[in-house]
Amino acid sequence: MRAFNFYTPKTLAEALELLAQYKGSATVAAGGTDIVIELKERRRNTDCVISINKIKELRYCEVAAGQVRIGALTTFSDLENNPYIKDKVKGLHSCCAHVGSPQIRNLGTIGGNVVNCSVAGDSPTTLMALDASVVLRSKAGKREMKLTDFYADRKKTRIAGDELLTEIYFDAPAKGVATATMKLGKRKALVIVVVGLSILVEKDDSDSITRAQVVVGGVSPKPARLPKVEEYLIGKPVSKNTFAPCAGMLSDIVGSMIPTRASMPYKREGVKGVSDKTFGRILVDFGLGEGGC
C-alpha cells in the first residue's frame, strides 16, 4: 500500500465538499471490502481516500409513499436483519444473506456493491429485477437514474468523479408481487456469482401475470434484463407449468450471451437448475407451491 491522504467525513456535506475539492481524483471507500484489498495489493493507486462509513445519515432502510429507500451505507447485515425486507422483499433478502461471509456482510454496503459494479457482484442483479433507481449527489446538486442506465459497461458506471451514490430506491412490492433471487457459486459461502438470477413477478387477482422482471447476472459485463422471458410470462397464469419452460429459454440466452467463454457449457446447464429453483421460490412466495419446478 502506498501513502495517501485519508479523510473520514462525518456528514454528507463534508464528503461532497472533499469530492469537489479533489475533482474526481479521490477514491471513495464505503465498507472497504473491495477497496482495501485493491489498495493493499497495489492494484489501485490513489492520492486520497475518502472513507464515508462514518456518515450516519446514509445508513437507513425506510418504506414511505409506496417506495423502499435504502441509504448507500446500509450494510448487507442491516438488510439481512431488516424484518420488512425479510418478509416483503424476499429476493433482496436472499441476495443480502448470501453475500460473502458474516464478516463481509457486517462491513459491505449496498451502495458500495452497486458502485463497484463487479461482474460477479451480488446486489446489482437483484436491484435491477426490482427496477431500482439510484440517487447521485454532488456539491452541485442531485440526479437520479434507473440502475439499468447507471451501468455503462464493464466496471464502468455513469457516476461522475465528484458524485456520491447516496440512495437506492424501488417500488415497495405491492400485494400480488413476489420476488426471488438465487446465486450459483462454487461453495456454500464466500463465493462470487457463477450465475445469478433474480425475478420479480406481479399477478392480478385471477393469478394471471401482469408484470415480470427477470435479470441474469454473472454472464455479461453488467446484469442483463431478459425481455424475451418477461414477454413470455406476461398474461400467463402463475403456475409451475408456466415457469418450467423458462429454464430452457434462460439456457439458450446464456449460451448466446457468452458463446466462446470456457465456462459457457456449465453456465448454460447450471442456469436451468437455478431457474427451476428461483421460480419455485416465486411460487412459494405466492403460497402456491413447495418450491422446484
Partner: protein
C-alpha cells in the same frame, strides 16, 4: 476396554498453546519487532525458463530508505539448498527454472519502500524453451532443466510373479486416475526475522523443521552450524508447505549484510507462488482377483511432475510406490514410477507425501472390483485386509500393531447407525488407506532432553516443531505418563536449535512416534536416577517401583511409598540431578535399489472413511452430508486432539475432492489467493463422526502411531466413491467441481 493401563494418556486435555491463541497473545514471526529493523523483499522471475542477461538495481538503490540489494554474488557460502537434493539456488546464478525464482533481495526502512524498490528493479532475460508436461520433459532433445536429464527419479518395485498371477485371475479391473496440483493454504503466510549478535545469526521463522533450516542457513552463510540459531515461532499451520526453506536464508543474508535485524513477511500470493505444491499424478492401475474377491495381483504405473526443483519429490515417489496397492495383502505386485522435472511450480511435501493421490487409485480399483463382483465393499476389504503376519510388497512381515480390520468394522458399525436412509441423488462411498509412519526406508531420528526440577516440575526440550498439530502437548503427556507426574507439571520448549536437540521434520506423521519415543527414552534416563534414589529411601529394589500420580510406590506393597516432593528432597540431599537425553531412530532398512525390498517403516497407521453425499443434478453441486472415519492410531495420546486431526483431515479431503486445483499456465499460478483457490468454508463442513481405534504393539510410545496425514487420506476416495454411487458413474480425475459433475451427468 482400554488396551493399556495408563494414568495420563487416552484422555482429553487442553492443548499447551490453546489459551494464548484464544486470547490473541501468541507471537507469530510477523509479530516480532526489533529496534532498527529493516524490511526485506525478494525480486522474483516472471518467466519460467531463462538466462538472466542483465539485472539492474540502480534505480532501487537510489530510492531513499533502501539499505541494500543483494544478488547471488553476495552469498558468502554455498548457493544451493534443498531438503533431499541441493538443487535450488538461494538466489539465481546460472538460470531461472520457474516463475518466482529469487533473483535479488532488498532491505529497506519500511515494507512499502521494499515493495517500491522491487518495482524499480530491471531484468532482461534470454528466454529458454520451457517444459511443462511429462511428455515434453521425456521427449528426446527436450530442453534440460537440471543436468542432462529431466527424469528426476525412477522407481521399480516388484514382488512375486505378477504376469502369472494375472493369468489366474477371474476378474481384472483397469483404470487410469488423475489428481491435480494442490496447495496447502496454511493460514499463516511464511514469515521470519533474522538478526546478528555476537557472531551468531539468529533466524526466527515460521517453519516445520528448525534444525534443517539451521543447516541450510549455515551453508549459505559459510558458517559452522553452531553459529546459526533457528528459533521456530508459533507457526500457523504447514501441512508440508513449510518444510522447504522459505525466508530463512534470505533473511540471514540481509541481516548479515546490513548488520540490522530484517523481517520478511510474504504476501499470500508470494507464499502460494513459491511454496511447494502437491505433486499432480497420473496413475494407471491393473488389479486382479479371484471370483471370491481375493486379490492376486496389482500392477501400477505412476507419473509425477515435481516441477522445477526436487524438494521432497524423492520422498513422494518412494512413498507413493510403496503404498499404491493399498492396505491389502497382495501377493504379486509390480510398480513403476517416473517423476520428472519441468518448469512448473515446485512440487514437494503436502500432507500424505503422495499417498492421498495413490489412495484415489487403489480405492477406485477396489470399489470397481466390489461392484464387478457384486460384493459389499467393506467385506471385500476385510477379506483382503493387511493383518498381523501379512507380508508386504516390500517383503516386510507386519507385527501385531495392525488395526485395519478393527477400523473397517468400527466404521461400518457407526455408518449403519448414522446413515439410515439414502435418498434419491444421494450416495454412500467407502475409502481406506494405510500410512507408514516416518521417512521411507531412511534414517530419521529425533531427540529430547529432560530435567526434573527440585519442585518436581519438568523442563522438556524437543526439536520437534509444533505447527498447531499439538506435538508439544503430546510430548508433555508422554513425559507425564513416563515420569508419573501430571500434564501441568511439564513445560515444553520446542524447536530452538540452541536449546533443543535435533527433532527432524514435523512431517510424515512421525513426531508422536519418533520424538515421542525420544521423549520417553529421555524420561526413562532421568527416572533411572530418580528410581535409584527412591529405592535407597524406600528400601525396595528399584525394579519394583511404580511412578504414578505424583507418587512413587512399590508394586509389591503400595503402602511403601513416597511423594515426588519427598523424592526431590532426597535427590537434593544426595546431590543427584534428574536429567535425561533420549534419541530414537525407527527400526527400518534402506530399500533394495532394484526391487525396493526392505523395511520402509517400523509401523503403519490405518484408516477407513464412509461418506454420504448428495448431488444436485440440476447444478452439479456436491453436498457432503456425513463422514464416518475410523482410524487405527495404536494408542490415542489425547482423544480430542486425535478427533480434531480427523475432523480437520476430513474437511481437507472434501477440499481435495470437490473444490481444489491449482490452475497454472506457462508455469504461472493463476489462482494463488483465497478468493480464487477455494477451500471448504465452515458452511460446507459435513457432520463428521471420528472414531479412534487402538491396537496392540509397543513400538511407539505406549503403542502410539501417527494420525496427522492418515486423518486426511481415506476421506478422499470415500467422498469420490459416494459421488460415483449417487450418480451411478465413475470419475477418474479430481476435483469434482460442479462443472465437472455436470459434464459427467450430461455425458
Amino acid at each position: 476396554m482400554a488396551l493399556r493401563d495408563l494414568a495420563i494418556l487416552g484422555k482429553s486435555n487442553i492443548k499447551k498453546d490453546a489459551y494464548n491463541k484464544v486470547i490473541g497473545e501468541t507471537k507469530f514471526a510477523a509479530d516480532l519487532k526489533f529496534d532498527h529493523m529493516l524490511y526485506g523483499g525478494v525480486f522474483r522471475s516472471s518467466v519460467p525458463h531463462a538466462v538472466i542477461k542483465r539485472f539492474d538495481a540502480s534505480k532501487a538503490l537510489a530510492l531513499p530508505g533502501v539499505a541494500r540489494v543483494l544478488t547471488s554474488k553476495d552469498i558468502p557460502g554455498g548457493n544451493r539448498i534443498g531438503i533431499i537434493m541441493k538443487d535450488e539456488p538461494v538466489l539465481v546464478d546460472d538460470k531461472v527454472r520457474r516463475v518466482g525464482d529469487a533473483i535479488a533481495l532488498v532491505a529497506a526502512e519500511t515494507p512499502e519502500l521494499a515493495e517500491e524498490a522491487l518495482e524499480l528493479m530491471e531484468v532482461e532475460y534470454d528466454l529458454l524453451e520451457p517444459v511443462f508436461t511429462y511428455e515434453d520433459a521425456m521427449r528426446e532433445g527436450s530442453p534440460k532443466i537440471h543436468g542432462d536429464s529431466n527424469l528426476h527419479a525412477r522407481k521399480h518395485l516388484e514382488r512375486g510373479d505378477v504376469d502369472a498371477a494375472f493369468a489366474r485371475c477371474d476378474v481384472i479391473i483397469e483404470g487410469t486416475y488423475t489428481t491435480n496440483m494442490l496447495t496447502h493454504m496454511f493460514i499463516e503466510p511464511d514469515a521470519g526475522v533474522a538478526r546478528v549478535e555476537d557472531g551468531i545469526i539468529t533466524v526466527y521463522a515460521s517453519t516445520q523443521n528448525a534444525h534443517f533450516d539451521r543447516g541450510e542457513v549455515a551453508r549459505t552463510m559459510g558458517l559452522p552450524n553452531n553459529k546459526v540459531r533457528v528459533t521456530q515461532m508459533a507457526t500457523g499451520g504447514g501441512f508440508g508447505g513449510k518444510l522447504d526453506i522459505s525466508v530463512q536464508c534470505h533473511l540471514a543474508l540481509l541481516a548479515n549484510a546490513t548488520g540490522r535485524p530484517v523481517k520478511i513477511v510474504r504476501s499470500r500470493q508470494e507464499s502460494t507462488d513459491v511454496s511447494a505444491k502437491r505433486h499432480p499424478m497420473i496413475m494407471r492401475a491393473k488389479t486382479g482377483a479371484t471370483k471370491d474377491g481375493k486379490l492376486l495381483a496389482v500392477e501400477v504405473f505412476i507419473i509425477g511432475d515435481t516441477g522445477a526443483y526436487a524438494s521432497y519429490g524423492p520422498a513422494v515417489i518412494t512413498r507413493a510406490v510403496v503404498h499404491c496397492m493399498g492396505p491389502y495383502d497382495v501377493p504379486n505386485v509390480r510398480v513403476d514410477s517416473d517423476f520428472v522435472y519441468t518448469n512448473n511450480p515446485m512440487a514437494g511435501a503436502f500432507r500424505g507425501f503422495g499417498v492421498p493421490q495413490v489412495s484415489v487409485c487403489h480405492e477406485g480399483q477396489m470399489n470397481a472390483l466390489a461392484k464387478a463382483l457384486n460384493m459389499d465393499p467393506i467385506d471385500l476389504r476385510i477379506l483382503n485386509a493387511q493383518k498381523p503376519g501379512t507380508v508386504l510388497a516390500t517383503g516386510q512381515t507386519l507385527d501385531e500393531s495392525v488395526g485395519f480390520i478393527g477400523a473397517l468394522r468400527a466404521a461400518k458399525e457407526k455408518a449403519a447407525e448414522v446413515i439410515t436412509t439414502v435418498k434419491e441423488n444421494q450416495g454412500v462411498g467407502v475409502g481406506c488407506m494405510w500410512y507408514g509412519v516416518g521417512n521411507t526406508g531412511l534414517p530419521n531420528p529425533a531427540a529430547a532432553f529432560v530435567e526434573v526440577l527440585p519442585d518436581a516440575s519438568v523442563n522438556l526440550m524437543v526439536g520437534c516443531a509444533d505447527i498447531g498439530q499439538g506435538s508439544s502437548t503430546v510430548m508433555a503427556l508422554i513425559a507425564a505418563e513416563e515420569l508419573g507426574l501430571s500434564y501441568d507439571d511439564i513445560h515444553v520448549t520446542a524447536a530452538d536449535t540452541m536449546v533443543t536437540p535435533e527433532g527432524g521434520a514435523s512431517s510424515a506423521s512421525r513426531q508422536t512416534f519418533i520424538s515421542g519415543n525420544a521423549t520417553r527414552i529421555a524420561c526413562r534416563q532421568a527416572k533411572e536416577t530418580l528410581a535409584q534414589t527412591a529405592a535407597n529411601f524406600l528400601k525396595v529394589p528399584k525394579e519394583y517401583l511404580i511412578f504414578r500420580g505424583r507418587m512413587i510406590y512399590s508394586a509389591k506393597d503400595p503402602a511403601i511409598k513416597m511423594t515426588y516432593a519427598e523424592l526431590m528432597a532426597e535427590m537434593k540431599k544426595w546431590g543427584q540431578l534428574a536429567v535425561g537425553a533420549g534419541a530414537y531412530n525407527p527400526k527400518t532398512t534402506y530399500l533394495d535399489a532394484k526391487t525396493m525390498a526392505g523395511i520402509p517403516y517400523e509401523v503403519y497407521s490405518y484408516g477407513v472413511t464412509i461418506a454420504l453425499v448428495e448431488v444436485d443434478t440440476s447444478t452439479g453441486e456436491v453436498d457432503t452430508l456425513k463422514l464416518v472415519s475410523a482410524h487405527d492410531v495404536g494408542q490415542a495420546i489425547d482423544r480430542v486432539m486425535v478427533e480434531g486431526q480427523i475432523e480437520g483431515g476430513m474437511v481437507m479431503a472434501q477440499g481435495f475432492v470437490i473444490f481444489e486445483k491449482i490452475e497454472h499456465e506457462k508455469g504461472k499460478i493463476k489462482n494463488p489467493v483465497f478468493s480464487k483457490y477455494l477451500i471448504p468454508t465452515t458452511m460446507d463442513v459435513p457432520e463428521i463422526y471420528p472414531i479412534i481405534v487402538e491396537c496392540p504393539g509397543e513400538a511407539g510410545p505406549f503403542g502410539a502411531k501417527g494420525v496427522g496425514e492418515p486423518a486426511l487420506i481415506p476421506g478422499i476416495p470415500a467422498i469420490t466413491n459416494a459421488v460415483e454411487n449417487a450418480l451411478g458413474r465413475r470419475f477418474f480425475e479430481l476435483p469434482l467441481t460442479p462443472a465437472e459433475v455436470m459434464k459427467k451427468i450430461l455425458s
